[in-house]
């Protein structure tokens, strides 16, 4: 094979590989639509927006599932974001070098822990503890799920936010210190605002991670498809969209309405995560150009 | 302002008959997409077996001109390029040109020594291996020959298999020269090759170039006027993308004809 021909072949091959990412995204969307859209025909829309999810009777109200996901994700976010950002700031700005060298790999270990393993400990230890300590009717609640989800989402937030803080040019910090600010003031008034875009992306990615988690929530949130009402609902069982799919797909007849509705939930998950990602990416873009405009 | 002078060919002294024009640049215009460092209608001949120096203030287009000769500008964002560059009668700006073969005939040494992350030996033989040469003995001979020509053999012959990054700055730059010489080119382009080097290394490089010019066409962008004056058989003053003056070295530095050339040489600007 001549060298020129080989060059062309390689160039084509890598290009095809690159385009495969777009192709895959489209194929995934297409097949989800193909299996999920029939649900819109088989189940009237008012029913889908209904408040009862009872597939055995043919009632497919999605609201309890959506609200269940929202509740658990929101609670997890309230736990993960402060802890995650604070940890990221600690690692990037406060920790001495030796501590950093230990913490960063540890966060990576955290990120790699299988969620089913955390779910197991949730059932085995966390739920019973909460049941006893907080005198609940059951330990399998939205709150238990939120706790697990929080710690699952934290590593994502920490690593992306820490990268963003690291990327802030040294000159910013040195300038602030030279003007008489101490390290704390520098962090709050200079470094963190400068890394704002990246930290926001980190938070969005963390939320996405929590929202898309399946096994851990399936194992500890009690799987009761009821609409959460009031703050007490946090300590009641709920059902998330992800857990619904995982729990029920195994028992479903292929091609049945239930089957199609589960795929419809999958489409919803796909679209919501798409939206979260696009918002996260656009936030970074806007923040960066504003900073560039200020500096030039 | 440069357009007030007569066309540079007229200012040129007649060349001795033994030398021929190796490279002829004809009405070369080059514009980058961001407008910086472009070339405007440059015409110039670069003779064989001599050192031609391209000098002038920073950003004037000297590096751009150099990189046009081995088509390295293809890697950058060129919006427009017109004109011709004839090497031995072939226009290398023609799209049909075999650019890879061109780059083996026209070698380049860059301002910062960029040694590849390999051993000394592998660095020197890299170009030949790219060309498909696999014979160990031939490669070894080429390595020896090139390192000798770059005045580096004595210093590295006992550590050819050590990482090239372990050499000093001056040695690395001479290694880059050897790397180019291994391909046995016809033209050597050097873009401020001694800018980061200590005086001893600088002197070694300049001495090598004095030797090499007997066999190659050398085009050099110097990093100081003094180096230009030391090295130039012929000198071209490039200002704002235009060729202001071109004459044999001794002529130009002693009796510059154009006022701007004189200003620059005297240090009044730049």
């Amino acid at each position: 094979m001549t060298s020129a021909l080989r060059e062309r072949l390689v160039a084509v091959a890598v290009r095809v590989a690159g385009i495969s990412a777009i192709a895959l995204l489209l194929v995934i969307f297409f097949f989800l639509i193909q299996q999920g859209l029939p649900a819109l025909a088989e189940v009237p829309l008012p029913d889908l927006i209904g408040s009862r999810w009872y597939p055995i009777e043919g009632t497919f109200g999605l609201v309890p599932l959506v609200l269940g996901s929202l509740l658990v994700t929101l609670a997890a976010t309230l736990i993960a974001v402060p802890l995650g950002v604070a940890t990221a700031v600690f690692i990037a700005e406060v920790a001495p070098r030796s501590v950093r060298e230990v913490l960063k790999p540890f966060i990576e270990v955290m990120a790699g822990l299988p969620s089913v393993m955390l779910g197991f400990l949730g059932i085995a230890i966390l739920a019973p503890e909460l049941y006893h300590r907080l005198r609940l009717t059951t330990g399998l609640t939205a709150f238990t799920g939120a706790l697990l989800l929080g710690w699952i989402a934290i590593p994502t937030i920490v690593s992306v936010a820490e990268d963003a803080l690291d990327a802030v040019p040294r000159g910013y910090r040195d300038g602030a210190l030279a003007l008489g600010a101490n390290r704390w003031q520098t962090i709050w008034r200079v470094t963190l605002p400068a890394a704002r875009g990246g930290v926001l992306t980190a938070v969005m990615l963390g939320i996405g991670r929590a929202f898309g988690e399946t096994m851990a929530v399936m194992m500890v949130t009690g799987n009761a498809a009821v609409i959460p009402r009031g703050w007490g609902a946090l300590f009641q069982p709920v059902r998330t969209m992800t857990a619904t799919i995982a729990a029920e797909m195994g028992e479903v007849a292929g091609g049945s309405t239930h089957y199609h509705v589960l795929f419809l939930i999958g489409i919803l998950l796909f679209l919501i995560s798409l939206a979260v990602n696009l918002v996260g990416a656009s936030v970074v873009f806007r923040a960066r150009t504003r900073a560039e405009r200020i500096l030039s | 302002m440069a357009s007030q002078i007569p066309f540079p060919f007229i200012a040129q002294q007649p060349l001795p008959p033994a030398r021929s024009a190796k490279i002829v640049i004809e009405h070369l215009t080059l514009v980058y997409s961001d407008g910086r460092e472009s070339l405007r209608d440059i015409s110039l001949t670069l003779p064989n077996r001599a050192v031609t120096v391209l000098f002038g203030p920073a950003g004037g287009g000297k590096s751009t001109l150099l990189r046009a000769i081995n088509r390295l500008n293809d890697l950058t964002d060129v919006k427009r390029m017109q004109g011709h560059i004839w090497i031995d009668g072939l226009d290398i700006l023609d799209p049909a040109t075999d650019v890879i073969a061109l780059r083996r005939r026209v070698g380049m040494v860059f301002a910062r020594p960029v040694v590849l992350p390999m051993s000394v030996r592998q660095n020197v033989s890299y170009g030949l291996e790219l060309a498909g040469q696999r014979d160990r003995r031939r490669l070894s001979e080429a390595v020896h020959r090139s390192l000798e020509a770059a005045a580096l053999w004595d210093e590295v012959h006992d550590r050819l298999d050590q990482p090239a990054a372990s050499l000093s700055g001056g040695q690395q730059q001479r290694l880059c020269l050897a790397r180019v010489l291994a391909l046995e080119p016809e033209v050597i382009l050097l873009d401020e090759p001694t800018s980061g080097l200590d005086p001893i290394s600088t002197e070694k490089v300049e001495t090598s170039l004095h030797e090499l010019k007997n066999r190659y066409t050398i085009v050099l962008v110097p990093h100081s006027i003094q180096q230009a004056a030391r090295m130039a058989d012929h000198a071209a003053f490039i200002l704002d993308g235009e060729l202001v003056e071109y004459a044999p070295g001794r002529e130009l530095f002693v009796h510059p004809r154009h006022p701007r050339t004189e200003d620059y040489i005297e240090g009044r600007f730049g």
Partner: protein, 285 residues
């Protein structure tokens, strides 16, 4: 208290808060890891690792689950590594700065954010049903491959980009082609980063349950899979089953399974970290 002393106190309090947050973040995880190892290691006997489960999974060993995870991740790597590395090289070295390239980047970002259970749904519709693979190792591995693709592409691109562009320029100036730069300089120099990315992708895939729930996993199989079209047991799914689906399950089996999974994951993490730090130490640019 003067302003300066007040600022010092604010700083001390602030740093204290940050330290506390970090401890709250990391300490529970450390305890979890230690707890699983403490309660699980005792259960890990050679029999546990090498025997089949018996008595409704309550006794015996978990060998088929371990083997299943190995088969799944190995097959997945065969698919995702060439594709992902090629795409990463494309983005780092070949792709022009145009709308197509931006679209590819957006697509990768979105692929990375899709919940794993949605990948499971897609695998079910696409591989199991449409391509008629049935519940099989092949379907599961391909599903895992698609899920892992964004990670491999991104880390490969980063690794190749981190190699100084000046090497490529030098190579070109000596008469080299694009591919020669990739083959002789960019790939070898970027290899540690690429390897790290692949290993971390494998680590994640080994621990994921949702993608294999409907595509490959079986609760119990009396014999080992003999072809890629057979279903298989798998470690993460096995852990799920023994911790939720079977009454009277001894805690030893549960913690033992969890420990094996944990050790597998930690091992891969250590290997990736070692590769990365050794490469950084030996870097010559």
């Amino acid at each position: 208290m003067n302003a300066r002393r007040q600022r010092q106190w604010t700083q001390r309090a602030g740093f204290g808060l940050l330290t506390l947050a970090t401890i709250v973040t990391t300490l529970p995880i450390l305890l979890i890891v230690l707890l699983i190892l403490q309660r699980g290691l005792a259960a890990i006997t050679p029999e546990f690792l090498l025997a089949f489960p018996s008595d409704g999974l309550r006794a015996g060993g978990i060998f088929p689950a371990i083997l299943g995870t190995v088969l799944l991740t190995f097959t997945m790597t065969l698919v995702v590594a060439p594709l992902g590395i090629a795409a990463g090289i494309y983005l780092a070295h070949y792709a022009p700065d145009n709308r197509l390239t931006r679209s590819i980047r957006i697509a990768i970002l979105n692929l990375a954010g899709i919940p794993s259970v949605v990948y499971g749904l897609f695998g079910l519709a696409f591989f199991v049903i449409f391509f008629r693979m049935g519940t099989s190792i092949l379907a599961g591995a391909l599903t895992l491959a698609i899920m892992t693709l964004p990670v491999v592409i991104t880390t490969t691109e980063e690794a190749v980009r981190s190699v100084p562009n000046s090497f490529h320029v030098v190579s070109v100036s000596l008469g080299g082609t694009d591919w020669q730069s990739v083959r002789r300089i960019l790939l070898p120099q970027g290899l540690p980063g690429i390897l790290t990315g692949v290993i971390l992708g494998v680590e994640r895939a080994a621990g994921e349950t949702a993608p294999i729930l409907f595509t490959a996993a079986a609760v119990y199989l009396p014999h080992l899979p003999t072809s890629p079209l057979d279903p298989t047991m798998a470690l993460p799914y096995h852990l799920y089953v023994v911790s939720t689906q079977i009454p009277g399950m001894p805690a030893g089996v549960q913690y033992g399974t969890a420990a094996v999974l944990l050790i597998l994951v930690l091992l891969m993490n250590i290997i990736a970290t070692v590769i990365r730090s050794r490469a950084r130490a030996r870097r010559r640019w």
